[in-house]
Symmetry: D2
Subunit: 362 residues, 4 copies
């Protein structure tokens, strides 16, 4: 599986997008994964450094076409940083060829094909693999990922559906309360703010600097495609159906995502209890930090990293509403870093290998 120098060869499919190039960066910095191949359908033949001059003097790797045979011949693992449906088009062949696939698209996240088809407005053409795919949020799904690692070691196919950025932050904010059984209402509100890199690298009116700068706005209100993914995960954690009202906002920053989640809790739950539940829940997690009581997270604290920070407050006046806030880097824990974290598990590496650096503090 590994190349002769002990490295695991990796390909980033869709390496010119923001999530893709972030995977490439993390692989370049990783002690075991090796960046062997990068692909892009439209810019094959171009050096990646010609697109991202940060990489000048670091790598001369050149983009190739995303052809499954070529990928399968060259690498052990493929990270798919592609739009939805593009993964459906390439994953079956990669899996058939024995490549481990970490899919950052939405194609294998939602277990019910009918729900996928309703929200994504396209048919799901790979429902067999969908059943096998493991949702790659290690902090709530580690056991399944470990099982997948064992299966992979035994020569079986391995497909990880890496979570969306908003579902990651919303889940990390809500999970401890839902798991602890203190939530009393099936209605959960997730109000989130994302940096502009979440809107992708394709230039358009919304991502133009002069539009995004000095302005905040909600978008995709009551219809964002991450809604069913959040509902699926929160319902599983709660053990009963959860209805999510989800409102994403765009704010003028490049990287960073903050989800502020509102959960009604039982009247007799105190702020101290909530804090203790969350502290206990994340005590063993290396990439999720529960902040001390009284502190709420800021996205600047996790930008450039694969970490999450969580903080909570309780409005216990007349209603009893828990406000739980989770900060991630949408390209880090919300995409690329989480994909590498899952890949680490699936390849039997230490879970945080290559991810436990300290990102810029200022």
């Amino acid at each position: 599986m590994a190349t002769n120098n002990g490295k695991i060869r990796a390909c980033v499919v869709g390496a010119t997008g923001y999530a893709g190039v972030e995977v490439a960066r993390l692989v370049l910095n990783h002690p075991t994964f090796e960046l062997t191949m990068v692909t892009d359908r439209k810019q094959a033949g171009t050096r990646l450094a010609d697109i991202y001059p940060t990489l000048e003097g670091i790598t001369d790797i050149t983009l190739s076409l995303p052809e499954p045979e070529a990928i399968a011949a060259a690498v052990d693992v493929a990270f798919l940083a592609v739009p939805h449906t593009a993964s459906l088009a390439v994953t079956p062949a990669l899996i058939a060829a024995g490549v481990t696939v970490i899919d950052l698209s939405a194609d294998y996240r939602i277990k019910d094909p009918a729900v996928y088809e309703a929200w994504y407005d396209t048919q799901h053409t790979s429902t067999d693999l969908l059943k096998e795919a493991v949702y790659g949020l290690p902090e709530v799904n580690r056991a399944q990922l470990v099982s997948l690692a064992q299966a992979r070691a035994a020569g079986k196919p391995a497909l990880v559906a890496a979570p969306g950025c908003y579902p990651t932050a919303t889940t990390l904010a809500a999970a401890p309360a839902l798991e602890a059984g203190i939530v009393t209402s099936s209605l959960v509100i997730s109000d989130a703010i994302s940096g502009v890199s979440g809107a992708g690298r394709t230039p358009n009116a919304r991502t133009h600097y002069c539009h995004a700068n000095e302005s905040v706005e909600a978008y995709g209100v009551a219809k964002h495609r991450h809604t069913p993914e959040i509902e699926q995960t929160l319902s599983a954690l709660a053990g009963s159906p959860i209805d999510v009202v989800f409102t994403p906002h765009l704010a003028p920053l490049t990287r960073g995502l903050l989800a502020t989640v509102y959960l009604q809790v039982a009247e007799d739950v105190t702020a101290d209890q909530v804090q203790a539940i969350y502290q206990g829940r994340y005590a063993g997690e290396k990439l999720v930090t529960m902040l001390p009581a009284g502190k709420m997270p800021q996205t600047g604290s996790v930008a450039g990293s694969g970490r999450a920070q969580v903080g909570v407050a309780l409005d216990a006046r007349r209603q009893h509403v828990l406000i739980a806030s989770c900060a991630i880097d949408n390209l880090g824990k919300g995409a690329a870093s989480q994909a590498v974290q899952a890949a680490n598990i699936v390849f039997g590496l230490p879970e945080t290998q290559g991810l436990d650096f300290t990102a810029p503090v200022v």
Copy 2:
């Protein structure tokens, strides 16, 4: 009342703060008000243009001390852009001297002194005037402001409590639904995002560029002082007690505030009905624009202006939650412009005089 050239002389008390200098700017541009005096306790003797070089070549007006007698001798109207308690210290003397006071502080906003004292942690020392003060949100309180104008014309004291920025945006987002009686839950969630100017001009760790830039965070969660002000107004509009869970966020922009408000509505209410309710409610308002169906506001559209934009969406899947979003400039409709709008009414001027310019579009 007016000076011999037909002008109404105005003083800005606390003119070095962001709201204060924005009042000063609007008065400089106003055809009837005249900027006669600006005060600051710490920087008396300094030209305002030495603090704000934008004003170089425009005005040489110099700060003086905020002494009530001097103010009363010089002006017809005083805009108080001061922290809470500072207004309590000066307003009674100004009112006694016959000056019309537009108070941008929180001191006269909350009708129940006990609530003020609980949230602001200080005694209310001017409860008689508190009873007289009119809450200056024209779009929901115009009749009272017009009555105050008549009283003022008859020689009576006039005190306006200009609303806070978050209460303004939350109220404008929620009012039509509450007034229409379609809201079914007493719990209203207001999740808001403000630019950094809302944190004031005093430099500190939070307003340092390198802290605020490229980061978003919640602050004052479950304890922000605008909460009781919002509850007072929304309860009055609903005709029954409303509990508000209010979470403000700080985002990296200078001016702008977006409130996204969540209201549960009756099951049989449709998106079209909601849109019609809001369109109808704001049809006659010159400074509040209801956006067409399907559009949500962005703060960049109102920055530098005294306008508000409102948009709505309905999540009508299982729960029935109305998401209403209002964008204002926290220093404009959220502070200075609204204060001038109220002053226009109180002095019998056209309500939007000096405020109906088109702010920068890009």
Copy 3:
């Protein structure tokens, strides 16, 4: 010439671009000009407010095609906010039809067609009008604009070539020294920084938020097309050929342009003398403010306005180099406001009518 209500009817050709919509905004706020028509070749039929939601509730004006006959039938003055060569295509017909043209493109700025052709890589097809066009920088060319006003009043054609943004700032920084004869070298270096709106509204890789944000870079080095325009103006002011090395930079802000200009001066010139020369030069100018000694301008002080601020410092150690810095809003004094200022002169209105408001201070 004026419509029956005393208004002068105006058309903005190319109203969807940033300079175009800024002209439209200034005309909307102007007491004499009236926004009668806006055009765009690609989006005719669309409400301008659908593109710029700032205008929602302010104007329902709808874009039409830029057909000279229709424009000539509808308006008295046309502001052309179009790319170079597009003005060549429409200006002759407009002038022939008696419309006064304020051209914000580069087409009529450079008096020598050969220079235009060399730098803009296209033929000049309107050299007769080129001779008639007046360069519209009032602070250095007011007499010619006044003559043009007289000609226009006498029924003659009137064509103003509004200056580029970099030439405006560089000229205002350098003019007093060059006119005073204290400059000893023919080499002038202009190092300038512009906000992203200067790169235009068309989305591309460079104007993507995530590229422009948190980064500065030089562009067009040693080949920017504003170079010959700057050389033409500075040489005229100096009375001898000036060679300009011009380096523009892009910085992460929407509006604002700062030119820092380096001029070698005679050894016996003192800082006080330089300050006095500049103070005297701009003493009578309402839209150009010379800052007090020791102060340098910041672009934030002029953003949203049609004003310029200038400051100087002298490095008089071994070499004698004057550093003169001018801040403008690239869309204001650098484009739209200057165009309206020239139009005011040409129509015999007070030069700063509609432009002497105070822009946001914070």
Copy 4:
């Protein structure tokens, strides 16, 4: 010298400032240096993570007082991230105690004490050590640093004066041309733009978000203290006195510094020759990348890293002016990373150990 696990123990003196915490971050990520101690005169007793929440969950290291004896007892190397004069107060005792000192302040950079005293307006109280200090810009001073490493290994004191941020960028931009002997004028203009972190962490009016945001300005014009440091280095490279006119600007970004340097060159020098000179000069450098012909650097490409990128253009029309531009992260190659790079050399480690990671690309 190293602790028993093969680590070299490090202290950051002044760890709460931006450069200090960046050194701390790099040491935390470094395979050989170990963060043993962090100090701050005012906040001793506080966890560093309480000041910089990025570090929550990463380190619980607590600030102590910067007492030389305690530092000497605990560490092998001290990074001084302190204001000028503060290093003079502590360095002699640290050196006497055998601690290797990497001084990020200006105190030991300027070889002539009279020049230091003239520009920094204070007496130099450590002129003996000043003679011994090695200027820590490896790309131009590597031989001296290697000699210092040998001396240190032999038990002698080792003091590195880490360069200033502007001198680093200006030197890297100008060095190849000056060394190659193609520069014909002794006057060098350096026009530079820095992010706000360069202004330090102390909140003040200039670093307030609302002042710095959406604005650019020059500061310290003709009197910035980095001027004599630049002149010292460029003169040494040229072999003759160079006069530097240096103008720094502040732009709205957190990290990043761009120096655009103007050098007159011989008439017969071509653009290709210049490109070749620069390519050759930096061919072997791992942390300085010369860009391909026609490309100029952007600071976003090096933010968060210890790398520099350089690009050049030649204006060869009438004057012959080379425009050389260098992008660094002011806290990286301009401060902390360069300090660690020098420390690597002085301790005989691979020069780029801990510094050759790929920073965020987006």
